[in-house]
């Protein structure tokens, strides 16, 4: 029987479903006098799609950048549990590439693909942390340098299959449509075999059809592959549909945290989005 069953797990976290995977503990981030995050605390559970919402400038992307190591918060702690023998890692002091090695993968608000390279090369770069980089072997195209190119390919092909990127495999990403580029960026993050996937506005600037597609891919990644997702998104309908848990930021402060239903009914959230009700 021919099956399309995937051979490689995409989720690398061994934390049991429902247990805390990422804990953000009273994190504060300041740029000079500007406070981007003010004692934000939240916990992401394994298996969840955890949405972070809030008005523009609320600090959503700053929070994501703190988690992935691009910003280093002045106060607070961010802890990633990897599950294997109960190990946990303090992320606040690590550089981005070390955090990526722990399996924290991300996409960017403005697409940050490697524009001169093809889709395949971009995805292979997602396998970077799983490959050895020996100068001499690379120059000679010898031993591990050559072997690992072949070894890493099946997983990359599974990601291509999952995200339906087959027609674009050898196209330079710079020439692809915006929606496809967003998908390639998701694919590159998946190739890491993430323990936690951070998506910064994966549907920004898309029409409703493309949004539906992207939402479907994110659900597939979460439900089929079991990858935990932290999602920043502006489209409330999408957030309420796909996420299990929602955290709301406003002016760098966490103003609500809970299931989509409770958050939607929270007066503080309504105020942040619609302005205070006049009495």
């Amino acid at each position: 029987m021919v099956t399309r069953a995937y051979q490689h797990p995409l989720n690398s976290s061994a934390v049991p479903v429902g247990a805390p995977l990422l804990e953000v503990d009273s994190v504060s981030l300041r740029f000079g006098g500007v406070v981007a995050l003010r004692e934000v605390s939240l916990s992401v559970a394994q298996g969840d799609i955890h949405a972070v919402i809030g008005p523009n400038g609320a600090g959503k992307s700053s929070l994501l950048n703190c988690i992935s190591g691009l910003y280093h918060p002045q106060d607070g702690a961010i802890t990633l549990h990897t599950g294997e023998d109960g190990r946990s890692h303090a992320l606040t002091s690590l550089p981005p590439h070390r955090i990526a090695r722990l399996g924290v993968a991300r996409s960017f608000q403005n697409i940050e693909l490697f524009h001169g390279l093809t889709v395949l090369e971009n995805l292979m770069l997602g396998r970077h942390i799983h490959m050895r980089k020996n100068v001499l072997a690379s120059l000679l195209w010898f031993g591990p340098a050559r072997r690992q190119e072949l070894e890493q390919r099946p997983l990359v092909e599974e990601v291509i299959d999952l995200l339906a990127l087959q027609p674009y495999r050898h196209k330079p990403v710079g020439a692809l449509a915006y929606g496809i580029q967003k998908r390639v960026e998701l694919g590159r993050a998946l190739c890491i075999q993430p323990s936690l996937l951070l998506l910064d506005e994966p549907m920004a600037g898309m029409n409703s059809e493309e949004k539906e597609d992207m939402a479907r891919y994110i659900l597939d990644v979460n439900e089929l592959a079991g990858v935990s997702v932290v999602l920043i998104e502006h489209d409330m309908a999408v957030v309420m549909d796909v996420s299990n848990r929602v955290s709301v930021l406003d002016f760098g402060r966490l103003i609500a945290d809970g299931t989509p239903e409770t958050v939607k009914a929270d007066p503080a959230v309504v105020e942040a989005y619609l302005g205070a009700e006049e009495h």
Binding site: F114, I129, L140
Partner: protein
Amino acid sequence: MATATGIHHRSYRAELRLRHTRAEYLRLALMAALLLSLPYNLGVYWLGIANSILIAVIGAVGLNILVGYTGQISLGQGGFLAVGAYTSANLSERGGLPVPLSIAIAVLVTALIGALFGLPALRLKGLYLAIATLASQEIILFVVRRWSWLTEGKGFVEVSRLEVFGWQVSREMFEVQWYWVLLAITTLVVLAARNLMRTALGRAFMAVRDQDIAAAAIGVNLTRSKVTAFAVSSGFVGLAGALTAHYTETVTWERFTLDVSVLYLAMIIVGGIGSIAGSVYGAVFIMLIPTLLTEIAERLTAVAPVLTEQLPAIKNAVFGLAIIVFLLVEPRGLDRIWTRVKDYVRYWPFRY
């Protein structure tokens, strides 16, 4: 496998090959035949130029790895050539090491010094990095000019005729024998560079060039990648420098000035930034311009004697003009033009 509908691979292994179609293998065979027949068809003068081109190709490939593939602009090319040349010349002449060993050590030493001077790249980008590498060029040149120990106070190093394990280059067949040596080395260098760019390491270089923040976010260690790129690139350049030393048999600092750095940058711009083949085309083009202009001027000297009188000025003007025309018409260089020619032929009679 190439069919009428495109190139279809049946295995990942086949896809990773450098060439896929019969036409590509045919062109390779033609190229090889041309290169192998050159010594039988060219005189000593032209063969000497071919040898200089072969050395320039190695240097240009090295520079392109750094500038074109890793996006770290460098004006330090001349300095790194000098390191390779002085190291190998001194090790073989005064240290008495066999030439292959002295060249290998020169490559490693240049790689090390390149990595050292690449450290500013960890904090600087673009124009700022260009100025920092300009400083490295001037520092290295200052050292080789002023440190009289390097040249035993003579101001230059004399290098004896190439001798490898008892086999010595003969006086009569000097250019021909050097041609074979250099052709072999240059072929291996070009192949090594192509290999590098289809592995994880080379892809990391290109990731740093295209989006350094995203590169860090997928686990590329930026510090390590940039320093490695400087080291690998300088290693290639050091090889070119060492070969220059043994080929020209004298090492003087005039050969490694800032002009040389700019000339090499011109090679990769004209040939194609971020293309190994382009480095080769660019080196050939830039090295041939002065020679061809001299030829033309000599042919026309009866008609227009002013051409021969003003030859140096004309050379400079044409050189500058060529670079401006390339930047305007095809910023991606000869390599791109060649690709377009191939596509035109392939799709003919259709436009695309």
